[in-house]
Symmetry: C2
Amino acid sequence: MTETTAAFHPHDHGACIADGLSRAEDVARRKGLRFTPVRRRTLEILLQRHGAMGAYDVLDRLREDGFSAQPPVAYRALDFLVEHGFAHRIRRLNAFAACTHPGEDHSAAFLICRGCDAVAELAADPLRAALEQGARTVGFSVERANIEALGLCPVCQSTQAPEGIA
Amino acid sequence: MTETTAAFHPHDHGACIADGLSRAEDVARRKGLRFTPVRRRTLEILLQRHGAMGAYDVLDRLREDGFSAQPPVAYRALDFLVEHGFAHRIRRLNAFAACTHPGEDHSAAFLICRGCDAVAELAADPLRAALEQGARTVGFSVERANIEALGLCPVCQSTQAPEGIA
DNA sequence: TCGAAATAGTTATACTATAACATAACAGAA
DNA sequence: TTCTGTTATGTTATAGTATAACTATTTCGA
């Protein structure tokens, strides 16, 4: 497992967004998926935020672009993105985040800072493998997994109080 | 990581409940926690179900016992149980489940069957260790983690259709 | 016994998500 | 091209989940 996101550090965010979009477009074309305007715009919104975003926040942004502002619009687009690995759902936050990985079909783990709410994505394929092995001992076959950790990012470790006191 | 639950198999459920309660009582006494009637009853309800339960389902049961039927009552009791390791929150299901582990202070992973909704808890300390190591490479300190897998239990593997078709 | 702290009761509301059905766009076959 | 099945979107309504904020009570140590 190695770092694959610069969420906790400064970086070229513009390139970040452009890369994410064009990668998604490539994958969608290759898989024959319909990367429609709402879906594309939804991914772009997530990429711009570069962090976790609630469905209703996404919805607000979509409204500004003239899309229908009803919840199902956002949820469908988000579900599509998650389904195909362009985004992840972070259940602990009831939120979504654009996938920051180059590769397709990976497993991800999320590091959620309780100090500043930043979210970082780690490649979790080894973790996933370990999980599947454990599951096998009970005869369970894993299809999808969510791995989410709550804690403190480097910055907040020096400025925030320890757990339970803040 | 080894199997520590019999959720996917028949077992002595009565003993299961009694054990869970008395173990919790021991720990609470040792830690100086107040294992009040609502909290105790809430844990008992979760143990009886021996699976995931929504907060509002718990609330319904509490009402039958004469406790106040307002959401905060259930959420507080559940939060207490989760906080001290007597129960776990399963975010994928917006639900809670009694901890089926003997030991305290462990990490757990959940196997959620999409066929029959059964939930099994695996000891996930190795997984947790791997997660923490990965987090360290980004300078992140893990305090809590949720690891949840969706898939098929042994029984449903033979009777259910594959993902996406069911 | 007094007072601080923790727990529980209560009311109201905020936030998250989906069901269900109507309409429109698209893709391949006839 | 036109038909037709399929996929996507629009729309309305509502279900489900969770917490804020305030009051009352209990507990426990000083």
